[in-house]
Subunit: 282 residues, 2 copies
């Protein structure tokens, strides 16, 4: 499979204002084969119509954003998150996509035991997993960097995400996002443990002087993460899925035009994947 | 031992401008028994003279900041860090303090494998440990939150810090700082593993909306960390050392007068320690 055939761009990489159609056209111009989409950014199209438009552009969907946010201090909140995730599973199926990304959810001022919140994520997954299976949708839990444990993801290591997966069928897996995982002393071993349960791999970098873990992420090579090494470990599990470029970059990428953003990312992505392939051969 | 007898204030809690003497006087007024000092903030006094002044105020030293920063891309850099740490060990002995805090060190633009940097920390500790032992100084490795792995501490879990300690004598241990450790799924177990190797315990909190992991830390109770639970776990190891209030808080505490800062921290510290004692009895 050629480099471009396995590269995907996430809509978020083009910033908060690039329209769905601009996004698709930009990606088509690069020659990349996949797109990571957000259900709230389909230019008002239904998921079914958006899926058709994507296919008309010759593109495949690497992942749908997003479900989850299963944590909360009230039952109402947690039930609402489950309902919302069920709707996202339906949207994923209507898009004819196979994978919904699951954001675990964070904490609130009155939640001061992260272990309780982690149990809520387990419960949330358990409550949506059968519905996902019935819709032919895979759930890809994304472990979040501990800098975002409080805001977004109490499941903050790959091992924790796999603990959640363990009790479910083969349609519940993980996303390995380098930004979130690079710091973890156990990450290489955990990738091996994940095996066939890696449903997505996100390329990005951790900038040495990152000021904001939400929207100050780096283009591959601009930071200090071992992108080739982690990516090689993922490939070594037999992963042959998408290499998705997902970079939240408020002060850098997002100040640029879509086509410039795409070029800025594509070269470094190619270098990283070539280095990863080299590492595999050593 | 009464609450105040085991509470210490770190100089940093009073911001970057409070002088050494102001710091000591403020702490004496609170009735707290200990101070965490920084060798570069002794009002120009020699460590020996500063130690005497501290004792004249009826205070003890909970810890000395700081040595370490053992990582670097050149041998010269790493050797300089070792020399600097040897000088800090001497200063700690001259202060008649027993514990030097060790900051592991972070990454640099040309360091893209955090595992190599972790090995440099191991090597650094190995090279200063005998000198510390000969000077009667304990080295307390402080694991850093992964948000600061790149900037300050590639040793980013308590377990990793204990791995470094394992090959040394009983004078090489750790600091358990709640801000750095609260997110870790393995923290409670690692505290048990640490046992008698906990040489300091830092009280602070992780704010839900923290904007900067260096200088936007919370007063106990203002955030989402399980301070009583983690502190109870530390107590359960038999730890009877200092409860040090160390809060880097640029936009909150550091805008206040020293005495106001002390009062603002002392009440919440008391509540947390009482809750921790309660948890131990359950």
């Amino acid at each position: 499979m050629s480099f471009l055939e396995r590269v995907s761009f996430n809509h978020a990489t083009f910033g908060p204002t690039a329209s769905f159609r601009t996004f698709l056209e930009t990606v088509v111009e690069t020659g990349a084969g996949g797109v990571g989409v957000w259900t709230e950014r389909l230019d008002g199209l239904s998921p079914a119509a958006a899926g058709e438009l994507i296919r008309d552009h010759g593109l495949a969907i690497s992942g749908v954003n997003r479900g989850g946010f299963f944590t909360g201090s009230t039952t109402e909140q947690r039930n609402a998150a489950i309902d919302q995730t069920l709707r996202q599973i339906e949207a994923t199926a209507e898009l004819q996509a196979d994978t919904l990304v699951i954001v675990p959810g964070g904490l609130q001022p009155d939640m001061k035991d992260i272990r309780v919140a982690r149990d809520q994520v387990k419960e949330g997954i358990a409550r949506v997993a059968p519905f996902a299976r019935d819709h032919g949708v895979r759930l890809a839990i994304e472990p979040f960097h501990p800098a975002l444990s409080a805001l977004r993801g109490v499941v903050n290591t790959l091992d924790l995400a796999l603990d959640v997966c363990d009790v479910h069928g083969e349609h519940v897996g993980v996303v390995t996002d380098i930004f979130h995982l690079w710091w973890d002393p156990g990450v290489y071993q955990a990738i091996g443990r994940a095996g066939s349960r890696i449903f997505g791999h996100h390329l990005c970098d951790w900038k040495l002087d990152a000021v904001d873990p939400v929207a100050d992420r780096g283009v591959m090579g601009d930071g200090v993460a071992d992108i080739p090494g982690i990516t090689a470990a993922v490939m070594n599990t037999g992963y042959s899925g998408w290499m998705e470029i997902e970079i939240f970059s408020k002060d850098d990428l997002w100040t640029m035009e879509p086509s410039a953003i795409a070029s800025r990312c594509l070269g470094p992505a190619r270098v990283c994947l070539e280095e990863a392939e080299m590492l595999r051969k050593i």
